[in-house]
């Protein structure tokens, strides 16, 4: 898709998911080490750790796959 320059929407999506995933994952690790006084339901499942990890991995894959450098190379190859 011509996205208006070398930044694809999928890059923005990957960036967003990756950053959020990293923050949530890090917070999950912190909570596992220092458990909070007030816990949410099913706290023991540590959803923030595995859900954060899923988002981080997905976001990283997308951000790298559609990185500006790769997009430029792809556009150069087309022209």
């Amino acid at each position: 898709m011509k996205s208006g320059g070398s930044l694809s929407i999928w890059f923005f999506t990957g960036l967003c998911l990756g950053v959020n995933g990293a923050l949530i994952f890090a917070r999950g690790i912190y909570e596992a080490i220092y458990p909070p006084a007030e816990k949410v339901v099913l706290y023991d499942l540590h959803a923030n750790i595995w859900w954060g990890a899923v988002l981080l991995v997905l976001g990283t894959i997308y951000a790298l796959r559609f990185s500006p450098a790769r997009e430029r190379a792809r556009n150069a190859g087309k022209s």
């Binding site: 898709m1 208006g4 320059g5 999506t13 967003c16 998911l17 890090a26 949410v40 339901v41 959803a47």
Partner: protein, 586 residues
């Protein structure tokens, strides 16, 4: 007990931690950055209003769905599933999938070939200025109202979960939407909608996953719902988890509707009208780069639409099964919004139906995940509002300003008008946000609007596309009669509630059931008036209907693509999955 719910009776459900705030601020920064980045790509009318017509099927398809997946959709339908049970899923399945496939495979070629900028624009080509004027004015009116509904939904989230001031949250979020749409036009709206689509899923999907674990799977959830509703003496408690088997009689289900209302009112009229003629969603598909992409986009949207009940309907059902008052341990019963928002309701700490999703979010999501969940709701708000605002801007500029006010407007003037109109649309819709508090639940109000404007529009558009004998006078009169009759029936029931037995065929009919039957009748009235008036007036010659009507529009044959790239193949796959879902949840 349930720590997250221990604050139910206090003014807010949760308090955000620094990591939550970082996630929310990062999201706002990112959407504004996208708007700024795309500013240079929105210089012509085609760029600003139609995103250059160069979107791929995936981008157009996800934006098509995301524009519909506002916070209104998330919270409103979660609230409705709490209120009506799994019957609410009809609005995602029979109330969406057949219409999306119909748009893709039957109607899209007409929109694509005539290169219209909008649905009212098609009506102008097909019927002339009369039908276009009614359609564009009613659409503009509806979009600003819908935008207001989204704001209200947003304000509810902020009030319930965070205790934020309503005016503050409305102002910050709506100004952000105004900024990125005014800067980058439809392209910016679409880019953000794709981003918001992923955020919504990332933020909301944990609720059904964790909810089902807590409830003991689907069978455990069914058992808990049955037990809880029996305890509360709710009639027909078993009907809350069955999709079709309780639709034989009006009195057998919580909505007070029968299968006729669902199949014909919802499936054949409301849904067809919304998904094929509501320019808010159709505009996204019109931005596709070619006909194959334009046909694939709604099919991609349909595939994901079928999964949305996971993050919307299921949380509502989980709310019935799992929410309890943290102090007494009794079942927590949510109430209509007007009761929850009354002084007495506030004093008692009552919660409205539409608050079920935030309540479930607070139940499972700690710091970090909570920020993501709140961001998902904010993203939903923004995608819903941006969809309305960008559609409003296009219809206003092309179908009202350039048609009725300044017929010689240059392309530059249209883009300038589009940017100003974006800001104006946001300001006007802020004023409508408070109107919706009068409705029992948000979606009842939305469906009332659809029955006023969208249901008759579908009759007019479909006759225009498929019947070349339909005349300009017929189209205009039919659309006007359909709209006025719908508003008339609504007013009749408001003035005399017993009239519901005529409008909705049953005294048990709840708001949603009334909306479905009203839509059905007004669409029929529209079609009948159009046909009668058309036979009394002179039709347009075939030469003026070229590319607009079935039989006179050379539909391009699909390129020679493999089966896996064919829209028809994927349409069949989606249809099969749709049927299987109906059987599973029968």
């Amino acid at each position: 007990m349930i720590p997250a719910l221990l604050v139910l009776s206090s003014s807010t459900l949760v308090h955000l931690s620094p990591v939550d705030l970082v996630i929310i601020v990062f999201y706002f920064a990112l959407v504004l950055a996208i708007g700024l980045y795309l500013k240079g790509q929105a210089n012509t009318g085609e760029d600003f209003f139609m995103a250059g017509r160069e979107m791929t099927a995936w981008v157009a398809g996800l934006a098509f769905l995301s524009a519909n997946l506002g916070s209104l959709e998330l919270m409103g339908w979660a609230g409705n599933s709490y209120k009506y049970g799994i019957l609410a899923a009809h609005w995602y399945w029979i109330g969406a999938i057949p219409a999306m496939l119909f748009l893709a495979l039957v109607m899209m070629p007409f929109y694509h070939i005539c290169k219209t900028h909008s649905v009212p624009g098609y009506l102008k080509l097909r019927y002339g200025q009369g039908a276009q004027a009614i359609s564009s004015v009613s659409f503009a009116f509806m979009t600003v109202l819908m935008s207001g509904i989204n704001m209200y939904a947003m304000a509810v989230v902020m009030r319930v979960v965070l205790g934020w001031d309503i005016n503050f949250s409305i102002l910050v979020s709506s100004l952000t939407v105004a900024a990125y749409v005014a800067l980058g036009g439809l392209r910016s709206a679409i880019f953000n909608e794709v981003l918001q689509f992923f955020l919504i899923w990332a933020g909301a999907l944990l609720i059904p996953i964790l909810g089902l674990i807590e409830a003991g799977g689907w069978s455990g959830l069914q058992a808990k719902i049955l037990q809880n509703l029996t305890e509360l003496n709710v009639p027909n408690p078993g009907s809350y988890t069955h999709l079709w088997s309780t639709l034989g009689n009006f009195s057998d289900n919580p909505m007070g509707i029968n299968w006729v209302g669902i199949v014909f009112g919802l499936g054949a009229v409301i849904s067809m009208g919304y998904w094929t003629t509501d320019f808010l969603v159709v505009q996204r598909v019109l931005s596709a780069k070619d006909l194959r992409s334009a046909k694939l986009a709604p099919i991609i949207g349909a595939a994901f639409k079928m999964m949305v009940p996971l993050i919307v309907i299921l949380p509502g059902l989980l709310g019935i099964a799992l929410l309890r008052d943290p102090h007494t341990g009794n079942l927590l019963r949510l109430v209509p919004a007007n009761v929850a928002w009354s002084a007495e309701g506030q004093a008692q700490g009552l919660h409205g139906y539409d608050e079920v999703l935030p309540l479930m979010l607070a139940r499972y999501c700690g710091p970090g995940l909570l920020g993501l969940g709140i961001t998902a709701l904010i993203a939903g708000f923004m995608s819903g509002m941006a969809g309305n605002v960008s559609a409003f801007t296009t219809v206003w500029t092309y179908d009202i300003y350039a048609t009725l006010i300044n017929k010689n407007a240059s392309d530059d003037a249209k883009v300038r008008m589009g940017r100003w109109c974006t800001v104006l649309g946001v300001i006007v819709s802020i004023g409508t946000a408070y109107l919706v508090m009068r409705a029992q639940s948000i979606m009842d109000y939305v469906q009332a609007l659809f029955s006023f404007f969208i249901a008759p529009l579908f009759g007019t558009v479909i006759l225009g596309m498929l019947w070349k004998r339909a005349t300009p006078a017929g189209g205009w009169a039919g659309l006007l009669a359909g709209t006025l009759s719908s508003i008339g029936m609504y007013t009749w029931v408001k003035v005399d509630p017993s009239a519901v037995r005529y409008v909705a065929l049953s005294m048990q009919a709840q708001d949603q059931a009334q909306n479905m039957f009203r839509a059905l009748w007004c669409c029929l009235i529209c079609v009948i008036v159009t046909v009668v008036v058309s036979y009394m007036t002179r039709p347009k010659p075939d030469s003026e209907l070229k590319d607009l009507v079935y039989g006179l529009a050379p539909i391009p044959k699909d390129e020679h693509v493999s089966m896996f790239h064919s829209p028809a193949f994927w349409g069949v796959v989606v249809a099969i999955v749709f049927v299987i879902l109906q059987i599973i949840f029968w």
